[in-house]
Symmetry: C2
Subunit: 504 residues, 2 copies
């Protein structure tokens, strides 16, 4: 009898006390938010665009944790989201472009010269779907099995309709609210039912927010309210939770958030940019509401918040102002291999671990999220069926001055995103090593070299003057791409594969 | 230090061992299923319609638990669903008719003589929505607070779009899959995306099942798969769960389930009735799949299943065959105050409590579900802000021969459902007391009296020959309606309220 009690006691201990001591983890992911879309500088100084935005809660969070000035993601959405929960680089997952809502549908802009490789157009899945990256245990599933209560709220975009990737509950989330295959909302407006308007409803209508239909409640606000509601259960039951709060904001359509837009109109912004800034401020309010909620519930001290964006800010089309200025001093924007497309805001607040108001300049990559979260949750990964490329940034949180200039970050985009092909927005690979960055422009068969330490804006191509560094980086990039079985486009004229960067 | 351990231990005990000992509870609710729509007889003998259907899993369940031959619900959908989770009769909630998808929309068929009272057209809500029955703690919320993991899958239909009643997660469900304001699916077919077809999408498109889009997976099957998936978490964490698996089947549109329809075509049924029978068999397979799942997971012995329908079988229009024969020997169908509209299948299996293969003839009412579930979960209800009308049927489960002929069941439908007004399908109240049943036909200013013991089919109106019983039942019905603040229609010609049944 005594042994039964002991057994019970240990069972309870294992299921509870240990679980309760695990930190809650919140991924606060913004869509299409650029590195400069905030009043919180991620560069070394406050720059003009920082003055255009009003994000007091990002400033508040920066004061409480670690800000990453050199955080990288993929240049478009689904590859970043896939890497986040697989820990694998997009070159390896072959989820290298954004996925269509429709299964088996190519999303590349047609090109007469290059043929897109046979990538995983359906995103990721946990089942045997064709043209998907098959992953048995995405991060939410691992967390769930380790006792985490896993919640997804907002944009998912992990896979196409008709595949398991279209439903976050198939990826390990216990609760899913408003996440599916859509990459952007049909409407941000509750008065539009977020797009659910019979006769006008498209696949981009946002699911699950029926209670707000017809009400003047902006999508960002609705998602925030549902996220708070969804946290009730794990809080009440003292279960650690993982909340993936992925805002549809600030993706197109750029619709003004009436709560905030006046400030920007008065400041003289054009209507599009004023609306964009209001989308940003609405997102920032959500961040503040979540932080307030955690404090009110008494769990802020045991809750990690990871704030980030999924790709660079839109700068190519659809924005106000002159193209490719929206992320200045970064060059280019979403889709581009230049910094504007791949460098994003990242902040991590881990009470008791991160010191207040810290900044690190060490570069990190989106796939680092996976091992970092596992380390935060003290989970030893056992599934060896998937090769991970990420590296935990937890050591950096503890020592922000840690520097590793030997690590290579790899970017791979064997696609054409839009009609416009300029500003490295199509058919690129890239590598960052130390302060050097090499970009491979496949269609032009060119390599560009930049020194980010002295040329953040990538205006000085040093390829001609530093051939040895070009060769060294091209070799490394080629090796890394091949080791990940990266896919290259095909020259339509010859049927041959585009050369690896070290074969030029 | 020792006291901390003791405290911890008791905390753990309270949160776990006790919680684990609570039984899981599954509400398996079918939509619009009639009392005769099954090969499992609910009457005292096998009747012709029983031979038309094939429901082996209902037969299997009947062999394992208690079958109720006299289980009553409201004549249409939302009132029953509201009573289920409030424990209050529809006469009291003023949710007396089905609710529109659209807020503030009357659903009554227009009538030139009677005006519908100002009922709660938006259903129930937990917030201060106008024209809703306000309930602070619906049953799922109470269960959730008591440690239950609460899951809703399928049709909800508790309230209109734009109100909290449209979202089961606002009613206490932690997980909601496919439930909202819609009362029937736009399509049962995965190949139709369950109605989510841009350009054709209506508010009746079923939400949340994106992974099945384009696939030949019938809605009933899709919901079953998601329900099993949703049970994973509480099973893994040894949390008691409440699963509300509410099928859209067998409501219109009557679409054939190709897995099962051939049997019925071969048996000579017309296409509509063959399709209807295939909807029934698909539902029955779901019941079997759930029972198999519980057995496979080793939790069948600690899981209560409550099988029921929300109103009588459709017999008025939209079905094959001659109108009002579809529930024979019961008279009428959905919407009607005759037995065909309000008597439904009910079975309860509670391992360790119910004995195998039992049957009770004691009449019970839909609002009994609420106190029964609380008793099953050993929860003492403390919220006194809502008046409950139900009575737990748990004593009946333990002693099926228990008989109470003094209890009155009250039905109230101050509405006109369809164009057709015959067969007591509009403007009715009714009372059952012992074997007697009195129906008040408001528009006709008539009272009909039936003895169900000798006249199940309600063919012999005994009002003329038993005036004393009529008076006694009319008095009781009037008293009960007034005590519940029931609403009566208004005579358009005079502006006066329809008389109470004891004022005729």
């Amino acid at each position: 009898m005594k042994s039964i009690y002991l057994y019970l006691f240990f069972q309870l201990i294992c299921f509870n006390v240990f679980a309760q001591n695990k930190p809650n983890i919140i991924l606060f992911l913004v869509d299409d938010m650029g590195w400069m879309d905030t009043s919180q500088p991620f560069g070394n100084s406050t720059m003009p665009l920082n003055k255009q935005f009003h994000t007091p809660n990002m400033e508040r969070m920066a004061k409480q944790g670690v800000l990453f000035s050199n955080a990288y993601v993929n240049a478009v959405c689904t590859p970043t989201r896939t890497s986040l929960i697989t820990g694998s680089s997009s070159a390896r997952t072959h989820v290298t472009n954004w996925t269509s809502i429709h299964a088996n549908e190519q999303t590349d802009f047609p090109d007469s010269v290059l043929k897109t490789p046979d990538w995983n157009v359906n995103g990721l899945s946990t089942g045997a779907n064709q043209q998907s990256f098959l992953i048995k245990k995405p991060l939410p599933q691992i967390l769930k099995e380790a006792g985490y209560f896993t919640i997804h709220v907002g944009k998912a975009h992990w896979g196409s309709l008709g595949t398991s990737g279209s439903d976050p509950t198939e990826l390990g989330f216990i609760v899913n609210i408003a996440g599916s295959s859509l990459g952007h909302p049909q409407s941000y407006l509750g008065t539009d039912n977020y797009g659910n308007l019979p006769g006008k409803t498209t696949f981009n209508a946002v699911p699950d927010l029926q209670q707000f239909y017809g009400k003047d409640i902006f999508l960002t606000e609705a998602l925030t309210q549902k996220a708070k509601k969804a946290m009730d259960y794990p809080i009440q039951h003292q279960k650690p939770f993982f909340l993936s709060l992925c805002h549809y904001a600030v993706h197109l359509p750029i619709q003004k958030d009436n709560r905030f837009v006046d400030r920007y109109i008065k400041a003289g912004l054009d209507p599009t940019e004023a609306a964009y800034a209001s989308l940003i401020e609405g997102m920032d309010k959500s961040l503040g509401d979540i932080m307030d909620f955690l404090e009110k519930k008494g769990i802020a001290k045991n809750t990690i918040i990871i704030f980030m964006s999924d790709n660079g800010g839109l700068a190519n089309t659809g924005r106000g102002g002159k193209p490719n200025t929206q992320n200045y001093p970064l060059r280019g924007g979403k889709g581009s291999a230049y910094e504007g497309g791949i460098r994003v805001p990242l902040m991590v607040k881990w009470p008791g671990v991160t010191k207040p108001n810290q900044r690190t300049n060490q570069y990190v990559m989106v796939e680092d999220f996976f091992p970092s979260v596992l380390e935060m949750a003290a989970i030893k990964e056992v599934d060896k069926s998937t090769i991970r490329d990420g590296k935990s940034y937890v050591p950096l949180l503890k020592n922000v001055s840690y520097a590793d200039t030997t690590r290579a970050l790899i970017f791979h985009y064997p696609h054409r995103w839009t009609k416009n092909e300029n500003e490295a927005i199509a058919w690129t690979s890239a590598i960052r090593l130390g302060s050097w960055k090499l970009i491979y422009l496949m269609k032009k068969k060119q390599l560009e070299l930049y020194n980010l330490a002295s040329d953040l804006s990538e205006t000085q191509n040093l390829a001609q003057t530093h051939p040895n560094i070009v060769a060294q980086l091209a070799k490394k990039l080629g090796e890394e791409l091949r080791s990940r079985s990266a896919q290259m486009p095909i020259w339509k004229a010859t049927g041959k594969q585009v050369a690896w960067p070290d074969e030029l």
